[in-house]
């Protein structure tokens, strides 16, 4: 099974709630107020919102069929688990070879470790999709 989050740009209005909820989901408290007001060490959202004039949308890891990041990783730290591309942070050394090859720019640089969308594998539906007010974000599992 492959999990995938796709953005229909015709419906995206650029509210960026996907980024907010992604942050909350991966915060310590998992509480929107606490996460935003009081948690100091906040990772950037795993979701990237982008805009060019009227066109906008959000993009995350597409769980590629033949992921280039796996091939480029110098530590063998990236693998597929239950249909999701996973970065093993214990092995990751921050060489950014994955950043160099991801065609969607979906792998981000944290503190010496790469991180990316985990497709909320502990949730039935990813949080960003659940909270997208305009249903621009769609969730697929095949």
């Amino acid at each position: 099974m492959k999990r995938r989050i796709i953005c229909n740009e015709d419906f995206c209005i650029g509210c960026r709630l996907c980024e907010v909820h992604c942050n909350v989901k991966h915060s310590k408290s998992r509480d929107i107020i606490l996460a935003y007001k009081y948690e100091k060490e906040k990772e950037p959202s795993r979701m990237t919102f982008e805009q060019k004039e009227q066109v906008c949308g959000s993009i995350v890891c597409m769980n590629c069929k033949d992921p280039l990041c796996i091939k480029a990783c110098s530590m063998g730290a990236i693998k597929i688990e239950d249909g999701t591309v996973i970065i093993d942070t214990d092995r990751c050394v921050g060489c950014w070879m994955c950043v160099m090859v991801c065609p969607f720019g979906a792998i981000k640089r944290g503190d010496k470790k790469a991180f990316k969308c985990d497709h909320c594998h502990d949730e039935e539906v990813p949080i960003c999709v659940l909270n997208c007010p305009n249903k621009a974000l769609m969730y697929e599992a095949d």
Binding site: M100, P103, I107
Partner: protein, 418 residues
Amino acid sequence: MKYVIIGNGAAAIGAIEGIRSNDKKSEIVLLSKENCISYSKPQLYKMLNEENVQNIYYRNEEFYTTNNVSTILGKTLISVDFNKKILLLEDDTIKYDKLLIATGAKANVPKLKGFDGETYSFTNIDEALKLKESLVNKDKIAVLGGGLIGVKLSEYLHKMGKEVILIVSSKGVLSSLGDEKISQILNNEIIEKGVNLLLSTKIVGAKKIDSKIELKLEKENIICEAIVSCKGVKPEVSPFEKTELSIDQGIKVDDHMKTNIDDVFAAGDVTEMYNSIEDGYCNIPILPNAYGGGYCAGINMSGGDAKIDSVYPMNSLQIFDVQMITMGLLSSAEKDEVITMFDSKKRIYRKLVIREGKLIGAALLGDIDRAGILNNIIKCNLDVSAIKEELLNSKINFYVLPRNMREVIVKSYIEGIK
């Protein structure tokens, strides 16, 4: 079916994973002259510190049993009888049905005139450990060669508290990238951090004087305690030299990683492959090519049909505080359009090389985020005439690409989009 893989680097591991994606049962034998499990060469520098080899393993220790691979470690391939499909070791022979050659590359170590001492190199664990051992009572180290390995090694040695003299024959470090600005930025960075960088400097010879070494340069003589040669690598083809295997800069393979001999495949640093940007066969010794080539070979060896993506140089590296990613061709020809952006305050440099509207090379210094978007534009040979200024000047943004282009890209990477 019996698969045999010679080598235990990234290409070999890729091949195992490629074969096992098709064929879970058949026998796989892996032969390597190094007596340890696969490790990551880009992390080799860490071996100089107290870290042990486990920290740079490329896969975990269970990898071989999980994938049902029998390993023969610490034994060297001497030659191959391709007609009889037999590998000859020092004291043994191995039969194969399908063979993958993934013997990698070995260090170029130039002979220094008048020098009978040890010239160290730095391309595998044995060499790294040998250097480490010798460093215990040495403080002043000469590193020869301003390529990637020479520069990174100098940085590591410097951080270990050694006095480093980096001797480079060209005008700047990483000159093979073909971008003077990058060389210049890195030269400055390296000097600023305290490495003694000697540019445009050739070595005439060397002489041992007690426990020290006198290095003879064209204009002066310098004293050091150890010499490490980082003058590039060359494909390890010695077991195949007297055979019918087609070898030029490396073992020649097609886009299915096949050699000119039936049932014999090759991948990684030992090969030369078609480089679409250069329109010729090249040896490109980088890890993504090794793993990717091995994986592709593995699929084809086990009855699948995989074609290798277009290959060209690319790398991600950090030299002291300069973070950079380079991709494709940066040394432009006259017909190419070159656009650059430099922000000296933020220490950001970006360069795009465009040929007939298509992006063929890109360099990002300082801000490397989302470099893969550009890399994919190079790989897919997309026309960037209309968006080149944005690609150069804005934060890299997928939505800069026209919608139809984006849709094609998304489709090509995912399966079964509804």
